[in-house]
Subunit: 324 residues, 2 copies
């Protein structure tokens, strides 16, 4: 089988590819495990660090229908659509956010529809679809009220996945992923970027700014857990999702204070002192509009899992990413 | 001030125009009542029956940016965006629904944004945004789960109105209108078309088919009430809408059985005998996915009003539409 991963050069996309290569199979059109013959990593930058012949790295604009037509073909049974303009960036550049987060999603779903073979499409959505007055722990049936353009664009993407699946054009599933922490690499323009930065940078001996207050609650997931849940989200039977093809994935609820305490516990006091507390109103406004915890009853019932605690997430990050 | 009404040749659009002409003023950019100088009725067919010099009838495709650019100009302070592909039609022709219900909405909002003057935009949404398991009376904070392409397209329109307003591009309000009954004119491809047909046709001595069961609950509004609420929706202060620019408008909850009983009460037994009961699974599926009653707390608090009872709606219809 052939798999397409958009955002395939990104840290989540390339990790997903590695995990899939190691796994070797994925549920195919027939509902049975099939050997993974080819994985296309589509991104604006070339995916690097692969020497497996099953990997094909393609650079191109995901909003360009010609690019999508070239990449998603009759052989494509599964699409992981991870590419996005992140929250802070989509807020700063509305038109770019609409183009990549919404129009490109539509181009991809239209192409999937045109295949006529009902491919599985895993779309990554976000906790940013929520906003407004919310209970402390958010149930699955909570009204979506995004307070950022990113959140609005993700809801529109969910609606497309929902309606294209209902119409039988695709077999889609939109997974609302918790904030990924600790994310490796450089800071990005996501409003949540600090949630990795305040751990990652100090562990590398570098200073980091925390733009929110210590009592800010985050709904988190480690990269390992995220990859496991993306694959699980692909593998579940679409019919088991019932009327709603969108799903809030189970995560870990921690305050920023608890994150920093866990960092101190794992790496010591000096490391924590590299965090500078400096509130940023724009980031606070977006992050505080997101819920800090979810019931995630549907996700749990469908077998999605969460990290046990944040200290373990930090330890896994050190194991996977920090140079010894 | 200049007002644009899309779907301006339709029964709701042309009634709205007549009401606005009679009213003479509408709240302008400055928050004060301004004299209505010009109303452009944009539609695929020419608006007819107007001899007021303030009326300008324009025919054109609302999804065509050039048409929208010509119609919405620097003078335009208010846009009532009523044009839509109705539910049954959007379900049968997915691409046309996406084009008119979503893409055209985006073209209109983009044009409104380009003006830079933050015009008021009244967008008509629908109870079709709801679906799935619902309480008997639906509260304002209910999760939207459209079970038709029309419903999905309306939610996406709401999200655009919401985000364009939050960004300060427009001063928008998305009003979820109850099913309009009794709608004059010919049957259309809306799944709810019968809700007018079973009253209108028998009153004109013609047979009519009811495709749903007598216990089906409808959430209704008379044309008069709909026009009053569209204008009220324009007049309210956008800031009073708070974080949510979308709103379920208060309506009247009746069963189809009660509708027919009211018809018998107003027009007699012979008229009711013109109704043929013949279930249609496709229509039943869509109509039964809509809620039959709403709390509409926000709408009530904002001064929107509902019809008192269905018999009065029938009497008003006879007064307004049925030839004596």
């Amino acid at each position: 089988m052939h798999i397409v991963i958009t955002g395939g050069a990104g840290f989540l996309g390339s990790r997903l590819a590695r995990q899939l290569l190691q796994r070797g199979t994925l549920t195919g059109r027939d509902g049975q495990p099939q050997a993974i013959k080819r994985i296309t990593l589509l991104d604006v930058a070339p995916a690097q660090g692969f020497d497996d012949p099953r990997i094909e790295a393609v650079t191109g604009d995901i909003a360009d229908a010609a690019v999508i037509e070239r990449v998603i073909t009759a052989e494509t049974q599964s699409i992981f659509h991870l590419a996005a303009i992140v929250s802070g960036h989509a807020e700063a550049d509305f038109d770019l956010g609409m183009k990549i987060n919404f129009d490109a999603t539509r181009v991809i779903l239209e192409r999937a529809r045109a295949l006529g073979s009902k491919p599985r499409v895993v779309f990554t959505s976000s906790v940013a679809v929520f906003g407004g007055e919310l209970p402390a722990v958010v149930p699955d049936n909570t009204l979506l009220m995004p307070q950022s353009s990113y959140g609005a664009q993700k809801v529109m993407g969910e609606l497309l996945v929902q309606d294209y699946s209902r119409k039988g054009f695709i077999d889609g599933r939109a997974l609302r992923m918790p904030t990924i922490s600790v994310r490796p690499g450089a800071p990005n323009k996501a409003a949540s970027s600090f949630a990795s930065g305040i751990i990652r940078e100090p562990l590398n001996g570098q200073p980091s700014v925390c733009p929110v207050t210590p009592d800010t609650r985050m709904w988190l997931m480690s990269p390992r857990q995220a990859i496991a849940n993306l694959i699980h989200g692909h593998e579940i039977n679409g019919a088991d999702l019932g009327l709603a093809r969108f799903l809030s994935i189970d995560g870990l609820c921690v305050t920023v204070k608890e994150m920093v305490e866990a960092l101190e516990q794992v790496a010591g006091k000096e490391v924590v002192q590299l965090i500078e507390w400096k509130e940023d109103e724009a980031i606070k406004r977006i992050v505080n509009s997101w819920p800090g915890a979810f019931e995630a009853k549907r996700a749990k019932a469908l077998g999605f899992t969460a990290d046990a605690n944040f200290a373990d997430i930090i330890r896994a990050h050190i194991e996977d990413e920090v140079k010894k």
